[in-house]
């Protein structure tokens, strides 16, 4: 018994599991592509295998993160770094955790590796921490509904179709897990190839080729600029003791903080030139780096590829695009922009990007209301919701950050699920035009119940998952402490977006489910059997997601707990940056345990217990949001 637990908890097992998490989708892709008609069953099995692996990683990971959160709460240093664990190729060997990997892909130095371990190496450096664990879980979960809704609809070359789906999933997971800046970029761009083929070959509309091309080129153009930005950060922040550049994110963020601190100390001593020049550099690099992420999220005005791509893609692919790929953009901001360009994130995050995002929130919400096609409506609603998410990230405080990580998971679940709902209609009627439907409540009562739950979750009804994260994000925004602060305006717009989203979603629900019965032509014109209600396959596809939405709405605490350490690290970076921008000394006290451990946790503890009323007594932000929904 002892032995088993030893094996299970050993670092080697953890690392192997994490490596498998990235490799299994690629291997599955290869395997599935060998099959034809039977590939869908194999694909489903393999997706469940991956889910099983993820389950183990999540269990082991949360245990590990909780232990770590207790262990490190008393540690204070001025320079914070991420502490990824479960790293394949960990240099500490079998014995323990070192936080670095020895798997080098490309070395830009002739010096031997052993002498000092941080150097200009591009490495296969993947690891797990609080920020990416749940996104990986999301990636693993969402493939299953994506496969299930494609069950009947994908007729041509299903083997290749499912293979590209696995490829997409693998690339997304790889990007989430990367701790090497170049490796992240590699996986980030690798998602383009499967998405291009999936949209272009299996797309539903006549404009699918253009949509695929637009998606590919738009994202590529943005991400090449991101690469330039990342390289700029790498080159301008060498290691302070060895002078070597590094591509490893934990080392790089430490270097960034070191050089900023040096400049800040000089500025406090009366020589602000160095800090000013660093800030100018950061501004340019911020523009370059955000280019790719703003396209990927997408943030207005870079969103034009998105409705086309979502609209033309087969519905299973749309689920993956909305649930996973959009999160790559927000995750990139969280993981890379905040840590590598903290001062620019404070200076230009909310004021500039935030303004774009806020405008986009309202604009996309109005566009969503104007759509006749439900698929496009959800696509625009996604732009609107993700704008909110980006606002919360740039609030750069504990509530905003933990809320936004949680919301990435929640939004992935609920938007993916709403797209899966459309697959139900598409399988039966082959159209998503709102005007063609009516009175579906009586026609498909079971479907209607699930649809209500998921649509309400997407709006953010208390008791369902989005409520928790949206309230946290709002709290973060109201609490945001940025110069040129119009953060109250932004917070108000964000809160208003919740109202807007309930407006268009409710309108859709009313038209489709309540008006007199109106059915479009069935998908199969020969059939005489009337379309049936939710099948067992479909229950699994979005019923399980509805269950997850409810679960996360009632009990989000495990996720928030595991985020604690990393959010604290980010918050500390944010506080430092804020002080530098304002020209004050860094508030050392705020980074020490008593305040910051208290920060990220309290709101959710009270919120989720009961959906209905108990939230108004919290902060004004919550009260405001809650009222608008009811």
């Amino acid at each position: 018994m002892e032995k088993i637990s030893e094996i299970v908890a050993s670092p080697v097992t953890n690392r192997t599991l994490l490596l498998l998490l990235v490799l299994v989708p690629f291997l599955s892709a290869f395997f599935v592509s060998l099959f034809g008609r039977s590939s869908r069953r194999i694909a489903l099995t393999l997706a469940f295998v991956h889910l099983g692996l993820t389950f183990f990683v999540v269990v082991l990971g949360t245990m590990h993160l909780n232990v770590r959160a207790e262990g490190t709460s008393s540690r204070t240093t001025d320079i914070v770094r991420f502490h990824p664990t479960f790293i394949p190729g960990d240099t500490a060997g079998k014995s323990g955790e070192d936080g670095r990997t020895g798997w080098t892909l490309m070395r830009l130095t002739d010096a031997p590796t052993s002498a000092n371990r941080s150097g200009p190496y591009v490495q296969f450096f993947i690891g797990m921490d609080g920020l990416n664990l749940w996104l990986v879980a999301l990636s693993s979960i969402m493939l299953i509904p994506a496969i299930l809704v494609s069950w009947e609809s994908v007729k041509t070359r299903p083997g290749a179709f499912y293979a590209w789906m696995f490829f997409l999933q693998g690339a997304a997971i790889g990007a989430f897990l990367s701790f090497d800046v170049i490796l992240f970029y590699v996986f980030f761009e690798l998602t383009l190839i499967p998405a291009f083929f999936l949209i272009g070959r299996w797309g539903e509309g006549s404009a699918r080729r253009d949509a695929a091309r637009k998606f590919f080129l738009y994202t590529l153009a943005g991400s090449l600029l991101t690469l330039i930005g990342v390289l700029g950060v790498v080159v301008t922040n060498p290691d302070p003791t060895t002078g070597q550049i590094t591509f490893s994110l934990p080392d790089l963020m430490a270097n960034v903080q070191h050089w900023l601190k040096v400049a800040h100390d000089e500025a406090l001593a009366g020589k602000p030139e160095k800090l000013a020049s660093l800030h100018t550099t950061q501004m340019w690099l911020f523009i370059a780096m955000m280019a790719g992420f703003m396209v990927k999220v997408p943030i207005w005005p870079f969103h034009t590829w998105q409705p086309a791509a979502y609209g033309e893609a087969p519905i299973g692919v749309t689920i993956l695009l909305a649930a996973l790929l959009a999160k790559l953009g927000t995750f990139g901001i969280l993981r890379f922009v905040l840590t590598l360009l903290p001062d620019a994130a404070i200076m230009y995050g909310l004021p500039v990007v935030g303004s774009f995002a806020a405008f986009g929130i309202v604009y996309a919400a109005l566009c969503a209301y104007a759509q006749r096609d439900m698929k496009l409506m959800i696509a625009y609603s996604s732009v609107s919701h993700l704008g909110f998410l980006v606002l919360a990230i740039f609030a750069f405080n504990a509530e905003g950050l933990s809320g936004s990580v949680l919301h990435m998971v929640n939004h992935g679940l609920s938007t993916g699920a709403v797209f899966a709902l459309l697959a139900f209609l598409l399988d039966r009627y082959r159209t998503t035009q709102m005007s063609q439907y009516g009175g579906m409540m009586g026609r498909f009562p079971n479907f209607a119940v699930l649809a209500f739950i998921l649509c309400l979750a997407s709006i953010g009804l208390p008791g369902l998952n989005n409520f928790v994260s949206e309230m946290l994000m709002l709290a973060g925004l109201f609490h945001a402490d940025v110069p040129h602060g119009h953060h109250y305006t932004l917070a108000f717009i964000a809160a208003f977006s919740i109202f807007l989203s309930s407006w268009y979603i409710m309108t859709m629900l009313q038209k489709v489910f309540f008006s007199p019965l109106k059915e479009p032509l069935p998908a199969d014109p020969e059939t005489t059997v009337p379309a049936s209600d939710v099948s067992r396959r479909e229950v699994f596809a979005f019923g399980s997601l509805a269950g997850l939405c409810l679960l996360l709405g009632l009990y989000p605490q495990p996720i928030l707990d595991s985020l604690k350490t990393d959010v604290k690290a980010l918050t500390q970076i944010g506080n430092g940056a804020r002080a530098r921008v304002k020209g004050e000394p860094v508030p050392v006290e705020s980074a020490t345990p008593p305040v910051s451990t208290a920060n990220p946790t309290p709101p959710p503890k009270i919120v989720p217990k009961k959906g209905g009323g108990g939230k108004k007594d919290r902060k004004d932000a919550k009260g405001g949001g809650g009222e608008e929904e009811e």
Partner: protein, 536 residues
């Protein structure tokens, strides 16, 4: 002492032959092929003989021991690391070209075709080791002259004729311009030896700048610009690529570029010797000239490629654009004399570090990646072309994703590599070049932030380039064939394409071997670091 009795000089001059044994083997094979080709012309026979010749050259290159000549200032050949790198690239290209050109070699001209190919490869390899203006010029001509014949061999249509004629005339003119530049360099320094020339000019430069030397170098760059298809000298490329036979065009796209860039690097003193001291002032117009050339080449190449419907013309402009990317490496290398590392340390110890990318090493990585994908793309086109039906327009490739999955798959890999997507060799090359442009110093008087701007321009252009490459991928996979095409069933070409695709992916996944080889060929110089006191 009479220099005639100087034993060092004698050893140096006698030792030259040892340094070019593989090239002698190549040209010897070529002579055999030319000679007996008159008697018996069989494709498979001369293919085998040429292939054996290349293998022999490889064995000799691997086994013959060489040592650096005693008197570098009078040696016309240097066997340094750069030379060896270029030699291996040339020899491997020769083997690849033999395979992919299989379907277009006709029975009647097989011997001439293979013979010329071997001579051109020997020329490219010799350029890498030339240490003398005369040797350099002869080696460059050794590439050009067989190319004229190769372009003329299969001439049937007006298009072929135009290609051959155009290449011949412009190539001769560029050689003349280059020779004119050489005459300046010789007149100024009194020697044709490159080591002497760079030494003399470097010394002269430390006092004042010689405008005559600048004229000489600019004329030389003009001549080389033709070989590397830099923008004002690129006009021949689309017509020649369109009209020339596929295999020859593949060779033309790679070997002259390889030779041109290494010649440029040698004459500018960027490889071999002390790269911290170069025969011109790194602060003046020369880096700026190369910078402008690079920007023009990248941008114009990419923009004009957007407009092409003919796939060969598109590849021609794309090869122009890639020449521009490679010029970034040269521009970055010019910055090395100015490079300083700034370090802040509390203990004040001196630390010597090099920049992570030196420019020329990035160029070498890129040119290998470029060779892989260009050879590969032309191999696929050759494989899909038949004498009755050539693959000309991009639409001819419609639907081959279904009808010819293997060709389409390999072509897609080459195109993704040309775009520079991760996990292909093209990405490794672009990454190195971008890194190089960012490592270059940003605080010099003339160039200031121009190096970084170069990286941004290159990135934007890579996105523009993606448009036309992606168009081909879209045609191959997202459309159905209008007229299904027959493939030539040339197994060697297909095998060649698959091996190239494998190599493209391998160096994308694990670029380390390639990076190591390039760094060995062009070591990144060590740079003294200025220590500033820590604020604390």
């Amino acid at each position: 002492m009479n220099p005639l009795f100087d034993t060092q000089l004698q050893d140096t001059l006698k030792g030259v032959f040892r340094l070019v044994v593989p090239e002698i083997a190549l040209i010897g094979t070529a002579c055999v092929v030319f000679l007996f080709g008159c008697i018996l012309n069989r494709r498979w026979l001369w293919f085998t003989v040429s292939f054996l010749g290349v293998i022999l050259a490889m064995i000799l290159a691997g086994t013959v021991k060489t040592h650096t000549p005693e008197l570098l200032t009078s040696a016309s050949i240097v066997p340094d690391a750069t030379a060896n790198f270029i030699r291996w690239v040339a020899l491997i290209s020769a083997a690849v070209l033999l395979f992919i050109s299989w379907p277009e070699v006709s029975r009647s001209t097989a011997a001439e075709y293979y013979g010329c190919l071997l001579v051109a490869v020997a020329g490219a390899s010799l350029v890498g080791r030339a240490n003398d203006l005369i040797t350099l010029f002869l080696a460059l001509e050794l590439i050009s002259i067989p190319t004229y014949i190769l372009l003329y061999l299969p001439v049937r249509t007006k298009l072929n004729q135009e290609a051959a004629g155009k290449y011949f005339l412009l190539s001769v003119m560029s050689s003349a311009v280059m020779l004119f530049g050489f005459s300046y360099l010789y007149g100024l320094t009194g020697s044709t030896n490159l080591a002497v020339i760079t030494d003399t000019l470097t010394k002269a430069n430390s006092e004042t700048l010689s405008p005559m030397a600048l004229v000489g170098i600019v004329l030389f760059i003009g001549g080389i610009g033709f070989k590397i298809t830099a923008v004002p000298f690129h006009f021949y490329a689309p017509d020649v690529y369109e009209g020339g036979p596929g295999g020859v065009v593949a060779m033309l796209a790679v070997l002259p570029k390889l030779a041109g860039f290494v010649a440029l690097a040698r004459v500018l003193g960027l490889v071999g010797g002390d790269t911290r001291h170069i025969p011109f002032d790194a602060n003046t117009q020369l880096p700026l000239l190369l910078w402008i050339l690079a920007i023009l080449t990248i941008t114009l190449g990419n923009v004009l490629a957007l407009l092409q419907d003919n796939i060969r013309r598109m590849l021609a402009y794309s090869s122009v654009a890639h020449g521009g990317y490679m010029l970034i490496g040269i521009v970055v290398a010019c910055s090395i004399p100015d490079a300083t590392g700034v370090m802040t340390r509390s203990d004040g110890a001196t630390k010597v570090i090099g920049p992570s990318v030196g420019g020329i090493d990035a160029l070498f990585v890129y040119i290998v990646a470029y060779g892989l994908m260009t050879f590969g793309a032309f191999a696929v086109i050759l494989y899909l072309s038949t004498p009755e039906r050539q693959v000309d327009s991009i639409d001819d490739l419609a639907g081959i994703g279904q009808t010819h999955p293997i060709s389409a798959g390999t072509m897609a890999i080459f195109l993704f590599s040309l775009i520079g997507l991760p996990l292909t060799a093209g990405f490794a090359g672009k990454l190195m070049l971008f890194m190089g442009a960012f490592t270059a110093p940003a605080d010099t008087a003339t160039m200031r932030n121009l190096y970084r701007l170069l990286a941004v321009v290159a990135a934007v252009n890579a996105a523009i380039g993606a448009y036309y490459y992606l168009r081909v991928i879209g045609v191959m996979y997202l459309r159905t064939a209008l007229k299904p095409i027959q493939s030539s069933r040339a197994a060697p070409t297909l095998i060649g394409a698959m091996v190239l695709a494998g190599a493209t992916l391998f160096f994308g996944f694990y670029p380390q071997p390639l990076v190591n080889a390039a760094r060995k060929a062009a070591p990144v110089p060590e740079i003294p670091v200025t220590i500033t006191a820590d604020a604390k």
